[in-house]
């Protein structure tokens, strides 16, 4: 039966300064709630087709961590009409590349392929949104693959191992404290029924976003997407994540001893996300601290004083819930993690008392702006960036983002540093090489 589809069509100019006609994003929401963003880009005869589900490790319950990522693996294990292994085979046979990733907030699937193969990709993605087999036999064998993945990324990787410890220390209540790949005990335990229920709950059109950028006519592509995805019934609204992280009332610290060549130190502070007016300032602050070789941490700790082999900071602007601002450093041989911790903290303190220079501020803004321009060079990146903004409230936010960045002042940086980087609200992780 054919379902009538009414469309809410929004057309917006993404890059107002660009005279290029291909920058028009066609946005639509199908009757079943599926959100669709399409952008014509005919530079190469290829298309990047991406399906983003609004589910990640933040939607997981204690005892079932890693289930979102486990399901991502199983999305390649077949439906009644495309058996196990057929997804990858069909894509490769048609000269395409595909992959997927799971984050704290989302699970994303992409296929980059010749534009004339768009129908095939739409068919495959729509099929596995609704009809995944989740055969217990496949689950059993894929569980072992996920366990091996965890060993590679975390258990056998000093940095990954320490990061997991610090996250779980920093978050007492919010699921961001659990690793995306899941605790080993949970990966081992999760049952096929739980995975099936998770799939049914979250893999519904009204919880998904389709983004395509490439050499197609948007009207045609939209028609094809309507025809194929439009048949999938709307699901119940997935349960919201209710957990709120309570304020941190004292420094937390973990020391890990294991085989490693050099120590590592991590510092993590709770900071607000993009919903806060402070977010653009945090983005600029992160760039001033660690964007390139002229940034503060590199120039001082790595270059001038040679205390660290590496040092940096990282802010997650796009995080759905408030997350952590990370600092890290690897001491040079002969230096201690204690020394590096002191130095990283000193940089933070300096930001609270001393305004950044005009040059630093201008450089950071130029770097952020240039990164946007570079993204436009790749259709895959263009699609991903559209999706990132859409997931935090609307793809058109990309337009106002740079204006907000440009408005950040030196006084903002001082104020934000004071507001969010108090000594009592940090979590510290130190990896000590075992002799």
């Amino acid at each position: 039966m054919r379902i009538a589809i009414s469309l809410l069509l929004i057309v917006a100019l993404l890059v107002p300064s660009g005279a290029r006609g291909e920058n028009r994003v066609v946005a639509a929401t199908l009757d079943n709630g599926l959100r669709v963003l399409l952008l014509e880009d005919a530079r190469s005869p290829i298309v990047s087709f991406q399906v983003w589900y609004r589910v990640g490790s933040r939607n997981e319950l204690r005892g079932a961590t890693g289930i979102a990522h486990f399901l991502e693996h199983l999305m390649f294990k077949g439906t009644p009409s495309h058996g196990p292994k057929q997804f990858a085979r069909l894509v490769e046979e048609n000269g395409g590349q595909d992959n997927a990733f799971t984050s704290q907030d989302v699970t994303s699937y992409y296929v980059n392929i010749a534009a004339e193969k768009l129908d095939l990709v739409i068919d495959l993605e729509a099929d596995r949104m609704q009809n995944l087999l989740l055969d217990p036999k496949e689950i059993t064998s894929e569980r072992e693959v996920v366990i091996e993945e965890r060993r590679t990324r975390t258990d056998d990787d000093p940095g990954g191992f320490l990061g997991e410890e610090v996250s779980s220390l920093a978050f007492k209540a919010h699921p961001y404290g659990a690793p995306i790949i899941g605790w080993m005990e949970d990966i081992t335990r999760i049952t096929p029924d739980e995975i099936r229920a998770f799939y049914k709950t979250y893999y519904v059109p009204n919880n998904a976003l389709v983004v395509a950028v490439g050499a197609f006519r948007a009207a045609d592509a939209l028609e094809k997407i309507k025809r194929r995805f439009g048949r999938i019934p709307r699901g119940k609204v997935p349960p919201p994540v209710l957990a709120l992280e309570p304020p941190q009332n004292g420094e937390r610290r973990v020391i890990v001893k294991r085989q490693a060549e050099l120590p590592i130190v991590y510092l993590a502070w709770h900071v607000p996300n993009q919903k806060s007016d402070d977010a653009p300032t945090l983005e600029v602050l992160s760039t001033i601290l660690s964007g390139g070789r002229a940034s503060r941490l590199y120039r001082d700790l790595v270059y001038q004083r040679q205390l660290a082999l590496e040092a940096g900071g990282d802010y997650s602007y796009f995080s759905i819930d408030p997350n952590l601002f990370w600092f890290w450093a690897t001491p040079m041989p002969g230096q201690t993690p204690e020394k590096l911790e002191t130095e990283l903290s000193a940089h933070m303190e300096r930001l609270k008392t001393e305004p950044v220079t005009d040059e630093e501020l201008a450089r950071a803004k130029n770097q952020i702006e240039a990164a946007f321009v570079y993204q436009d060079d790749s259709i895959h990146q263009r699609a991903s960036l559209l999706a990132r903004f859409e997931l935090i409230g609307g793809f058109a936010l990309k337009e106002s983002f740079m204006a907000k960045i440009r408005a950040v002042t030196a006084a903002d940086l001082t104020r934000v540093a004071r507001a969010w980087f108090a000594p009592d609200t940090k979590s510290v992780g130190v990896l000590v090489p075992k002799s």
Binding site: E93, G96, F101, R151, E261, A294, A362
Partner: protein, 437 residues
């Protein structure tokens, strides 16, 4: 590190990326030889207002003297640390102020200076590139800094079982050839390097007649020629003859090496020498490698990962260089199962020579290698990397088209023939990194 944790579910770390693969119809770039011998390659990509520039000099690790492993790498690291006009920090500030990036680094064959900048900043970017290439001061203090930094980085990389395995394997596969040394050298060899070594190395190997410059992006051929000539036109071609390098030759006997590490997984890496990209066997071998361990439909992926759940990562890859190449197979598995995975890899290598590949898997490999070509050249940076590599290895700008034609012609019998020749399990060196008894 908190944000996304890409799971590489498919197409695991297909390390080979560049150059190995397929084809496009239109000429990829304009090519001309400047009066002083520089080969200039220009690809116009007007849609996005950026430029990517690569300057490839024949000054890679393959030219390191035997007692100075890591010299090319050190030279690359120091190149952006000061010029006649600017100190290292001034260079950093200048390019980063406009949101651009200027990097230099050595690989096995070449030393590359790379620029990414917005079109509006191209003049500044090219000024910096030419300063770095033509008037680097290679200051003593910066050499000392980089020696310490590289030494620490080598020490740290000893934590990574994949790096440990690749280093050991390189030594076995290319024993007696410069390719057998790690590009970054060893902690001992790097500690011995001095500023004089760096200065002499750069003076001896940086010369216009072995330099390739690619300019890709929102730029016309005329504009690129003008800008490059203005900066590099007076670079004088030296009279000294070019340094020569012997081609790598495989040793007769295969060896095994075990490196003990306290880890939950064991890293398994098989390797041997293979053929150059100019060898007719290269094309059937590329197909054979893809069937064996190239993607998520490959035999190794299917058997080791999908059917047995023994590994997250299992794949095979070619590493083609100018004077030799290697073919390798790698997997990481829980330590107790390592012998089983070693046996499976050997069986699958042998089966490639014993049986004809099936019609569908042959077609899949060929269609993937041919069809995915445009995806590998989807940014200005990737196009620039591809152009200088194709030029340096003497493959010609029509390489992409030839590749496509040659891959299309590969038959199941061709695949079996090269597998008999190159895939006998006993011809592979083997490195195991992990817990051992």
């Amino acid at each position: 590190m908190t944000a996304t944790r890409s799971s590489l579910t498919l197409l695991a770390a297909l390390a080979s990326l560049l150059v190995s693969e397929p084809a496009a119809a239109a000429p990829l770039a304009h090519r001309e030889v400047l009066p002083n011998g520089i080969v200039l390659l220009v690809a116009e990509r007007p849609a996005v207002p950026i430029v990517a520039v690569r300057v490839l000099m024949r000054a890679g690790a393959v030219y390191d003297p035997a007692d100075r492993a890591g010299l090319a790498n050190l030279t690359g690291a120091v190149l952006t640390r000061g010029t006649a006009k600017r100190t290292g920090p001034e260079l950093d500030s200048a390019i980063e102020f406009v949101g651009g990036s200027l990097q230099a680094g050595a690989g096995r064959d070449g030393l590359t200076v790379s620029l990414t900048a917005q079109k509006k900043d191209m003049t500044l970017g090219l000024d910096l590139v030419s300063e770095v290439v033509l008037s680097p001061t290679l200051p003593d203090g910066e050499v000392t800094r980089k020696v310490a930094e590289i030494g620490a980085a080598i020490k740290r990389s000893d934590e990574d079982p994949g790096t440990v395995a690749a280093r050991a394997l390189g030594r076995l596969v290319f024993q007696g050839h410069p390719y057998g040394f790690p590009v970054e050298g060893t902690r001992e060899s790097v500690a011995r390097l001095t500023r004089d070594d760096v200065v002499n190395f750069y003076r001896g190997h940086a010369r216009p007649d072995t330099t390739v410059i690619a300019v890709v992006g929102a730029v016309t051929v005329d504009e690129a020629r003008r800008e490059i000539m203005a900066r590099f036109g007076s670079w004088v071609r030296p009279t000294a003859s070019l340094p020569s390098v012997a081609s790598a030759t495989a040793s007769a006997s295969a060896r095994e090496e075990t490196v003990k590490r306290e880890l939950t997984q064991t890293t398994i890496m098989f390797g041997r020498q293979a053929v150059l990209q100019t060898d007719p066997d290269y094309f059937p071998l590329a197909v054979a490698s893809y069937v064996l361990g190239g993607g998520s439909a490959s035999r190794l992926y299917t058997r080791v990962r999908e059917e047995s759940g023994l590994a997250y990562s299992v794949y095979s890859w070619f590493s083609p260089w100018r004077y030799g190449s290697s073919f390798a197979v790698s997997a990481q598995t829980r330590t107790a199962e390592a012998p089983k995975v070693v046996a499976m890899i050997r069986e699958e290598l042998a089966r490639m020579g014993r049986e004809l590949v099936g019609d569908r898997e042959l077609a899949l490999a060929k269609q993937y290698l041919i069809g995915s070509f445009p995806l590998r050249l989807d940014t200005s940076g990737k196009v620039a990397d591809f152009l200088v590599a194709v030029e340096d290895r003497g493959l010609g700008l029509d390489y992409a088209d030839r590749y496509k034609e040659r891959i299309a012609k590969v038959t199941a019998a061709d695949v079996q023939r090269v597998a008999v020749k190159y895939f006998p399990p006993t011809s592979f060196d083997l490195v195991i990194v992990g817990e051992t008894k």
